[in-house]
């Protein structure tokens, strides 16, 4: 490896940080209802939408109403997307004449896209009509992102407000997320993508005759528009089966850069929104710095393991043992693992390389990224939520150790906050262990494996980590299309989503009613290096304690065996 290969690793965080600060401040203004750059353009459409919805933008909601609106909206989304897939055969924009999607795949997909997971138990170009892709999947790419941002904003308000019972209005937050944030950004991203060769057409597939005279059917479609929101909304559900490794989704290094930047951008900006709305920007920085620190550590480790190469390959004559299996030449090793780290750190799940074929320790890091609860930037909204849950946990311990009943940013942390934070942090983790252990010990689970031995364990583990963490990427060798997997992963996705958002809203509701304790010399400053280090340690330790045994058995043993020259 040459040192210049590492330049992207340095450039990305710098560009990301600068853009995230601007976007974070902008989002704070948007959700505070203040005037922004785009207000002159977007205010009247916004008001128009409120009129249609019958929403008064000053109507505040309690946490229960807010949660109820969230739940109802998600249920409608799941039902609508399910029906759309079942009925796509009778509907327009279906040039390939694709039939109805099988019910369990349709259900799995509906839940998957509504929960911002975008786990795909199907092959996009062979299953979904253009109408389903646009009116179903693209729509949910927007909505699932927006309903992820809204509760995060409500949680921020819970911290920022005092002695009130309300958290804002769900419909207003949703509307603003879409028209002020997601649509403008996707417009930019779509056009950049198209300019680089990402297709955007309603034409049916193309029949080509190759240079060697063979028939090649080339799938196309309205890809760029979906690609933009897929990345920006940390959705990750590709138009094509190969996702961002497909040349039509990610044709050039520029699109690759924009894809990585896009999936990190909003989750990275939200801590700054947090700081701005709290009027405590240093706090936003501290959360961001913790996330960035975890991110960089992960990047370092994964580059280390992947660049090392595969000794088994080297032995049989592959130059340097370079592990190019499941990677594209235009991305190479570094940009593939940078993408992999970014997509698992956030809950995006788009991939530009096949994670199943990564080295075992790289896979271990990816599983870890997801399994700790998607807090390294995480999903749009949910990343900040989960990180704040960890912060609550951290400050509980830290508070005790300095001899005060625990508090975080001036809010006292009591039993209720502890219960909810623990639900947010542990329920996806525990569910993934339980479901994996069921899959690993039943024929229904084992029959889907593409690889044997420890790697098979990793495949199953990754599947449930990805769904419970609402990530959506996969060790693609696992056949997720069986009834067993469609149903169990559906459960994981639902639990992953709702056990994050609803407790977060409950915390927000409780915190909002509390006073804000002023900071003094006896309160622990949550903006300093010590806090960042402690938060990062808590995240790593909780993850390590939960997953040490199973990660040892899966990726770690595989690693040891590869380096001992053993294959399966």
């Amino acid at each position: 490896m040459i040192i210049t290969d590492l330049i992207p690793v340095l450039v990305l965080p710098c560009v990301l940080t600068v853009l995230a600060i601007f976007l974070g401040e902008y989002m704070a203004k948007v959700f505070n209802g203040e005037r922004t750059l785009l207000t002159p353009l977007l205010n009247s459409p916004e008001q128009f939408l409120y009129k249609i919805f019958g929403v008064n933008k000053n109507d505040e909601m309690s946490w229960k109403t807010y949660s109820w609106a969230f739940i109802v909206f998600n249920i409608i989304g799941i039902v609508a997307l399910f029906l759309l897939q079942i009925l796509q055969g009778f509907l327009p924009f279906n040039p390939q004449k694709l039939g109805p999607v099988h019910w369990d795949i349709a259900l799995n997909t509906a839940i998957s896209f509504v929960t911002n997971t975008n786990w795909q138990a199907y092959s996009g170009e062979q299953t979904m009509s253009y109408l389903t892709q646009m009116m179903g999947l693209t729509v949910q790419n927007f909505l699932s992102a927006a309903v992820g941002i809204a509760p995060a904003i409500a949680l921020i308000r819970g911290f920022a407000r005092k002695e009130t019972s309300t958290l804002g209005n769900f419909w207003v937050d949703l509307t603003r997320s879409i028209i002020y944030i997601l649509l403008p950004l996707t417009l930019i991203w779509s056009l950049v993508f198209v300019s680089q060769g990402v297709v955007q057409t309603l034409h049916p597939q193309i029949d080509a005759l190759t240079l060697e005279g063979q028939k090649q059917i080339i799938s196309v479609g309205p890809v760029a528009s979906q690609e933009a929101i897929k990345q920006l909304g940390t959705n990750g559900g590709g138009f094509f089966n190969a996702n961002s490794s497909h040349p039509f989704e990610n044709p050039t290094p520029l699109t690759d850069f924009m894809a990585v930047l896009g999936l990190l951008l909003i989750p990275a900006a939200l801590p700054f929104t947090f700081g701005a709305m709290l009027k405590n920007r240093r706090q936003g920085w501290a959360i961001y710095a913790s996330m960035l620190m975890l991110f960089i550590i992960g990047v370092g480790l994964i580059i280390g393991t992947e660049v090392q190469g595969n000794p088994l390959l080297e032995k049989i004559g592959v130059m340097g043992g370079v592990n190019m299996e499941g990677k594209e030449v235009r991305c190479g090793i570094i940009n593939s693992v940078l993408f992999a780290q970014s997509t698992t750190a956030t809950s995006c799940g788009a991939v530009n390389s096949m994670h199943d074929s990564l080295m075992p320790l790289s896979g271990l890091i990816l599983i870890f990224n997801i399994a700790i609860g998607e807090v390294i930037f995480g999903g749009v909204g949910t990343g900040l939520i989960s990180m704040l849950a960890y912060a609550v946990l951290t400050m509980f311990i830290a508070g005790l150790m300095i001899g005060r009943t625990p508090e975080f940013i001036g809010k006292k942390l009591e039993s209720f906050e502890m219960v909810m934070s623990i639900i947010i942090i542990l329920s996806p983790a525990l569910l993934l262990l339980v479901l994996s252990s069921i899959a690993i010990s039943t024929q229904a689970g084992l029959s889907s494996l593409n690889n044997m031995g420890s790697h098979g364990l990793s495949e199953i583990l990754y599947a449930y980590a990805s769904t419970a963490g609402n990530n959506g990427s996969a060790f693609g060798g696992l056949n997720a299309g069986t009834l067993f997997y469609t149903l169990t992963t559906s459960l994981a996705m639902l639990v992953g989503r709702f056990s994050t958002v609803i407790p977060a809203l409950a915390i927000a509701g409780f915190l909002a009613t509390k006073k804000i304790v002023p900071a003094g010399i006896a309160t622990f400053p949550t903006t300093g290096v010590l806090f960042i280090v402690m938060l990062v340690s808590v995240v790593v330790i909780v993850g390590a304690l939960t997953f040490f045994p199973v990660l040892t058995l899966g990726p770690f043993i595989e690693h040891l065996q590869i380096f001992a020259g053993k294959a399966f």
């Binding site: 005092k162 946990l393 509980f396 311990i397 830290a398 508070g399 005790l400 150790m401 300095i402 001899g403 005060r404 009943t405 625990p406 001036g410 942390l413 009591e414 039993s415 906050e417 502890m418 219960v419 623990i422 542990l426 525990l430 262990l433 339980v434 994996s436 252990s437 069921i438 690993i440 010990s441 084992l446 420890s454 364990l457 006073k515 804000i516 304790v517 002023p518 003094g520 010399i521 006896a522 309160t523 622990f524 400053p525 300093g528 010590l530 402690m534 330790i541 390590a544 304690l545 939960t546 040490f548 045994p549 199973v550 040892t552 058995l553 899966g554 770690f556 043993i557 040891l560 065996q561």
Partner: protein, 661 residues
């Protein structure tokens, strides 16, 4: 030790969920051992693990029993005097009857005479008496308690030295402060404090996590062709569970209450003690808390520098009839300056005294036709003018200077002439300055409340290092002040004794009432200071903080320990099937069985080893939060990471050399 076995009753164990679960899984391993016995298999490994698991539980119970025992002993010794006492209950018709103190009910009135013990907590409704409170407070100097006013409270167990008082009993037996305190140290009746509940939730969360981890591990291992024995899984589970903190948690809370008792505090709720750790504003009365309570003469400032002796003499004579503390302090100072000692001074023959009265605000003497008077500036002014004299400009200047410096000027006059000025100064209590600066270091803002004028108040505040003061305060200002601070999110502590302090005490987050104070004050408060020493608030804050720090530190320690235990047990389980995994056996433990057993033994014996720490509490020194945290993280976090590696290795060496595995 007996208690720790009695506590094994599963019903009572489930009050502490962590240890309750340990007991359940230990019962399972016990059954396995019985099964081994029955089938004649070797039970050495299972048996030893089971044995140590039982020890884990017993050690935890022992910690709790030890703390309870200490607390109970402390409380019982306070209570002893009273239970044997008899009371003379006064009937409505005026007759009295001798009944055991335990039969007294709220509202009963008893007569207590010379030498009688006070039969219960109550208020003096009639009379005054000198009372020996040493049994409760350890303070040998007797105190006066009298009807009316703020010094009417008496406590059961104290003894009347002289005087006869009628006491209205204010609590039923079993409901006295002491009884409440005893209830708080007895595990069975103990209510968990809010913070304990929250911490318990965290511990339950961890426990559930590890249960899931261990159960699922069985299936993952099965897929990898490794069959893990139930005993080993249970050993792993117990090692991972936060048994160290789970076992010591009740003891920490009880020991905290013990420490309070030992400092002669009685807390009526655990919440108050925890809140004490958070207090960031303290309201203090100036008088009695910051200053000695009385102003003291410190200087004589004559009008004519050459005639200081005349002034001192005049001051002495005019103050002989002043029985107020100020008056006596003038006499003492004057004697000192004149070089006379003891009681050599006698009133001159034929002198007529004018004793000090609050409305005249003067005292003096009429001797040989001369009137020598001493009093407030205004009073002497009038007096001199009434004698056709005038106050010289020099005197006016001195008076003004003294006032400006925050002291109180008293003028001494002979007939028409003002001889000079006496400077009266508030004197700080000994050590108060240090204590207030300690409060500052803890991040606690001190606020002084005084009826003095702002100038005087400012002087005292500056001298004592007080952060803020409220001068010319009326009694009801305390309540408003507390509300004001609370609305800004502060936690306010207040010390009070008077009946008019009761509303403010009820409002304060931590309300400390002096034991000598009125019943109203004591009922409104959540902590009663038996010593009636207001500066001891610092101790309460420290104890509160210590309890929390000990909990946090041991939690951190407990969780950090898991890392080493994983490194001991996981390679041990899988190394036979996957020899490569021996790279994880970084402690180089001798065998798989020995590794598991060593981890279990370490997990068990760390509990008794930490009992002294749990009972004593982690040392607390005022410092910034970051410093404290860094220090505790280093000791208990990093220590928790490192210690078990060494400990498990050591145990492994011992048991393998003993041939136990």
């Amino acid at each position: 030790m007996k208690d720790s076995v009695i506590k094994l009753n599963p019903v009572s164990m489930m009050k502490n969920p962590v240890m309750g679960i340990v007991e359940i899984v230990t019962l399972i391993t016990s059954l396995i051992v019985l099964g081994d016995l029955y089938s004649g298999k070797s039970f050495s490994y299972d048996g030893q693990i089971t044995c140590w698991l039982w020890f884990t539980i017993i050690f935890a119970n022992f910690a709790e029993a030890l703390a309870e025992g200490q607390g109970r002993a402390q409380a019982e010794s306070l209570k002893k005097n009273r239970s044997e006492a008899f009371a003379k209950k006064l009937h409505a018709d005026g007759s009295s009857e001798r009944i055991p103190a335990l039969q007294l009910r709220k509202g009963d009135i008893v007569i207590v005479e010379d030498g009688d013990p006070v039969p219960g907590d109550g208020d003096v409704v009639e009379g005054a008496a000198l009372i020996d409170e040493s049994a409760i407070t350890g303070e040998s100097a007797p105190v006066i308690r009298e009807a009316g006013g703020d010094r009417c409270g008496v406590t059961g167990g104290t003894r009347v030295l002289s005087g006869t008082i009628k006491v209205k009993i204010t609590t039923n037996p079993g409901e006295t402060f002491l009884d409440q305190m005893i209830a708080m140290v007895e595990g069975a009746k103990r209510q968990k404090t809010p913070n304990e509940k929250a911490l318990n939730i965290l511990l339950i969360g961890l426990t559930v996590t590890f249960i899931v981890v261990v159960i699922t591990l069985k299936y993952f291992a099965g897929y990898m062709n490794v069959i893990v024995g139930i005993s080993t899984l249970i050993a792993l589970l117990v090692c991972l569970m936060p048994t160290t903190i789970g076992g010591l948690l009740p003891a920490i809370g009880i020991a905290g209450m013990d420490r309070l008792l030992r400092h002669n505090f009685i807390a009526t709720s655990g919440r108050a003690v925890e809140a004490a750790g958070d207090v960031d504003v303290v309201l203090m009365d100036k008088t009695g808390t910051i200053t000695l309570g009385n102003r003291v003469a410190t200087d004589f400032l004559p009008a004519d520098e050459s005639d200081k002796k005349t002034l001192v003499n005049a001051a002495l004579l005019s103050s002989l009839a002043d029985e107020t503390p100020e008056g006596r302090s003038i006499v003492i100072l004057a004697k000192e300056q004149l070089g006379v000692r003891g009681r050599d001074i006698r009133a001159p023959e034929g002198a007529i005294f004018f004793p000090f009265s609050a409305d005249k605000r003067m005292s003096g003497i009429n001797w040989n036709g001369h009137k020598i008077m001493k009093g407030s500036s205004a009073a002497i002014h009038d007096f001199v003018i009434s004698n056709n004299g005038r106050v010289s400009e020099k005197i006016q200047k001195i008076t003004a200077d003294v006032s400006r410096e925050g002291s109180t000027p008293l003028l001494v006059a002979e007939d028409d002439k003002v001889l000079g000025v006496i400077r009266l100064k508030d004197v700080l209590k000994e050590g108060i300055k240090g204590r207030i600066s300690q409060l500052g270091q803890m991040g606690i803002k001190s606020v002084m409340i005084t009826g003095d004028n702002p100038l005087t108040a400012a002087t005292i505040a500056a001298e004592a290092g007080i952060d803020d003061f409220v001068a010319e305060a009326k009694p009801d200002i305390k309540l408003d002040l507390i509300r004001k601070y609370q609305s800004k999110g502060h936690l306010v502590a207040m010390i009070g004794d008077g009946t008019n302090d009761a509303p403010a005490l009820a409002q304060a987050d931590v309300a400390v009432a002096m034991n000598a104070g009125t019943q109203a004050a004591r009922e409104a408060a959540n902590i009663v200071d038996l010593d009636s020493n207001p500066t001891k608030l610092l101790d309460i804050v420290e104890i509160g903080k210590q309890i929390l720090i000990t909990r946090g530190s041991l939690t951190t320690f407990s969780v950090a320990n898991d890392v080493a235990k994983y490194f001991a047990i996981i390679p041990a389980i899988f190394v036979t099937q996957y020899p490569n995994l021996s790279v994880l056996n970084i402690m180089n433990l001798s065998s798989a069985n020995s590794a598991v057993l060593s981890a279990v033994i370490f997990n068990a014996i760390i509990i008794p080893m930490l009992i002294p720490l749990a009972l004593r509490g982690v040392r607390y020194k005022p410092a910034t939060a970051s410093t404290l945290l860094r220090r505790n993280l280093l000791i208990y976090g990093l220590g928790g990471l490192v210690v078990p590696f060494a400990g498990i290795k050591l145990i492994d060496l011992i048991i393998s050399s003993l041939g136990l595995v």
